[in-house]
């Protein structure tokens, strides 16, 4: 198959590495054809998970067909390259929705399984892997195996959250959830500090199907961690205005494109502070429930194409960690304090309560709280700062999300992911030559037998 050598990066645009890209169009061509390789969906992981410097990268974007939609039982089977956007366009009009969705719909089904992504409903429904009925995995020797929680469950749970390192996910079958309309019923709570946010997130009366908090990461002192808790659910029958005739209508949004890299000075603590203050008061006002389409609700950033260019040419890092329940408040507070005391403002900070730990051996989620930060790379000082955050995370028994990582150390990885040995056993069994590798796996020494 023809290949294309070019510099590629993840969504954070750091690092940029030269990879040899293949793009199969037929399902039969989705197979390991080169000595080392990694699958890549929509490249929406932030760092180097879908890169393979000086090796092959297999694009799945043309292997994207919907194979089965059982509208009675809400079951969908599709090829792994299909995007959530395409899936939603097919299922929402029929009254179904994704059981779990990340904050962008421009990701592939395969990418959602490989990263075992979580959404705003994790505290109720767990991560993506919980809703996968089965997958077809294409192994290093080219053979295909159907696995599920019942069948080859070790391979299944090594692949869910396995960051593409067990093989190529070819087809995925998922269980959908039923919805009464394409509308969401949403409500916000303006919250003055971190304690209050934790209280609210723990409070079952304020809780909803989807619950998440936005945090103003630039205020410190008594206001540290002020923010807006945002709750929502798929609108029920009695919440819909009776004039909604076509309740499953999908409104097409037209995305605006960011045409060029923003110059470095546009994002500084001053502009971020201004923006955050505005956002805090603006979003904080929406205290009475309101209806909105699912698309702007789940995917606010998808309205701006290439918004990653706003962070300038150097790119940016997303730092997402989870801290287990017992130590979460202390841990998150320490992280926010370290951040506000540094010269590196975060443009976005999102806090979310997570439910039961995933069964995926390398999955990110565990019961506790997760904090996600967007940090532009303005200078090299960001790297030691994040190493300090890693230390805080490890002291509190937490971990960093691989789908967003570009700079973790192998030692920290091994501390954070205690089921690694168990995973490695499966990996060595189905990929004995360690052919499935990515820049991430090489950086973190994942898959190498010591």
């Amino acid at each position: 198959m023809a290949t294309l050598i070019k510099p590629v990066s993840g969504w954070g645009r750091y690092p940029v590495q030269s990879c040899e890209i293949e793009r199969p169009e037929r399902y039969a061509d989705l197979k390991p054809s080169s000595p080392t390789l990694i699958a890549r969906g929509q490249g929406r992981s932030y760092g180097d998970a879908a890169l393979n410097e000086n090796g092959h990268v297999i694009l799945t974007e043309r292997v994207n067909r919907l194979l089965l939609l059982d509208v009675e039982n809400g079951i969908l089977r599709a090829e792994s390259g299909v995007t959530l956007d395409e899936v939603l366009n097919a299922i929402v009009p029929k009254g179904w929705f994704l059981p779990v969705t990340p904050g962008t719909k421009h990701v592939s089904l395969g990418g959602c399984v490989a990263a075992d992504v979580h959404g705003k409903n994790h505290h109720h429904d767990g991560s993506f892997g919980n809703h996968v009925l089965s997958i077809e995995l294409i192994k290093a020797d080219g053979s295909r195996i159907e696995c599920s929680p019942e069948n080859h469950s070790d391979i299944f749970w090594a692949t869910v959250g396995g960051m593409g390192l067990t093989g190529i996910i070819g087809e995925v079958t998922i269980k959908l959830i039923h919805i009464h309309s394409s509308q969401m019923m949403v409500r916000h709570y303006k919250t003055p500090n971190l304690e209050q946010i934790f209280k609210l997130l723990e409070n079952p009366t304020a809780d909803d199907s989807y619950t998440v908090a936005w945090i103003d990461s630039l205020v410190s002192g008594r206001e540290l961690g002020r923010g807006v808790v945002m709750c929502g659910h798929h609108a029920n029958d009695d919440e819909l205005p009776f004039r909604i005739e076509n309740r499953y209508n999908i409104k097409k949004r037209h995305a605006i494109s960011i045409p060029f890299n923003f110059p470095a000075f546009t994002l500084n603590s001053f502009s971020i502070r201004k923006f955050n203050a505005f956002y805090y008061s603006h979003e904080g006002k929406k205290t009475s429930p309101y209806l909105t389409d699912y698309d702007p609700y789940f995917y606010p950033l998808d309205g701006l194409n290439n918004w990653n260019r706003m962070y300038g040419k150097q790119g940016f890092l997303q730092y997402q960690c989870v801290i287990p329940d017992k130590t979460s408040f202390e841990g998150i507070k320490a992280i926010l304090e370290t951040l506000t005391n540094s010269r590196h403002p975060s443009f976005l900070a999102v806090l979310k309560r997570l439910g039961a730990e995933s069964k995926g051996m390398l999955s990110f989620t565990m019961t506790g709280y997760t904090l996600a930060l967007d940090l532009p790379i303005r200078d090299q000082g960001i790297f030691p700062l994040l190493n300090r955050l890693d230390q805080i995370v490890m002291q509190h028994g937490g971990r960093v999300y691989l789908a967003k990582d570009a700079r973790l150390s192998p030692e920290s990885f091994h501390t954070m992911y205690p089921r690694y040995e168990e995973w490695l056993n499966v990996k060595t069994l189905i990929d004995p030559e360690n052919r499935f590798r990515s820049s991430l796996s090489q950086r973190l020494k994942i898959g190498e037998t010591a």
């Binding site: 023809a2 067909r65 919907l66 194979l67």
Partner: protein, 245 residues
């Protein structure tokens, strides 16, 4: 009368996008190609996404003796068809094509196979006094160049054949449209060095279907290829033969 469009060579990226554009308009589809697994997948996909009826069957452009019975089967199964898109093609290895054994295969696929099938379609639509035939050729057929003249000659011959059909079928109200894509982002062009202005298959598919509402007989995709080819066609031969194209 059924509103089914028959698409030949249905598993290529351009054909898939064209099929999707027809399905989005509500047309039922019959997909034909050589790869059964791919046909099955693409048919399921179009059916789920657009809610139209999609059938499929195996078809080999080079096995011309099978064309007539195949066509009759399709017409019977779909209760008639309203249009045909001929999207198959075979680029082949242009260096190997210097040996005519390989060259002959390129011609058999792109020209002989196409001409055989289009003759059957023309004979079907002409008495019905309705329908359309869309043939996908290539800008490579506009002028012979050392880098791909065998493929170019076959596609050029197909362009002429379509032109003749258009002339013949005009009086019976059957539309014949010649589509000449430039560089499209497909498996054929992926990884080729020095490509510029590459169009997406979706763009090409939408334009092909959109052409039915317009009066043009020959469409270049994207449009500016008409002007690029105009220039290339008008370079005098004594200069052209010295060029490394």
């Amino acid at each position: 009368m059924s509103d089914t469009v028959l698409i030949l060579g249905a598993t290529s990226a351009i054909a898939r996008a064209t099929a999707a554009a027809f399905a989005a308009k509500g047309n039922d589809l019959y997909l034909a190609a050589r790869d059964k697994d791919e046909l099955e997948r693409t048919a399921a996909d179009l059916q789920i996404r657009y809610g139209v009826k999609v059938s499929y069957g195996l078809f080999d452009a080079e096995a011309i003796e099978t064309h007539e019975p195949f066509f009759q089967d399709v017409v019977q199964e779909m209760h008639g068809i309203s249009g045909v898109v001929l999207a198959f093609g075979f680029l082949g290895d242009q260096l190997a094509a210097r040996d005519f054994k390989t060259g002959a295969k390129i011609i058999a696929n792109n020209f002989t196979g196409a001409a055989s099938f289009l003759s059957i379609c023309a004979n079907y639509f002409e008495p019905l006094q309705f329908g359309f035939i869309i043939g996908i050729t290539s800008v490579a057929g506009d002028r012979g160049r050392q880098s791909n003249y065998v493929y170019g000659a076959a596609k050029g011959a197909l362009s002429l054949f379509l032109q003749g059909l258009r002339n013949r079928l005009f009086s019976s109200g059957v539309r014949v449209i010649t589509v000449k894509p430039g560089f499209v982002d497909t498996a054929m062009t992926f990884g080729m060095p020095g490509l510029f202005l590459v169009a997406s298959p979706e763009y090409v598919g939408n334009r092909i279907v959109g052409a039915l509402n317009k009066s043009s007989d020959i469409i270049y995709l994207p449009w500016f290829w008409r002007y690029i080819m105009l220039i290339i066609k008008h370079i005098p031969e004594f200069i052209f033969k010295r060029m490394k194209l």
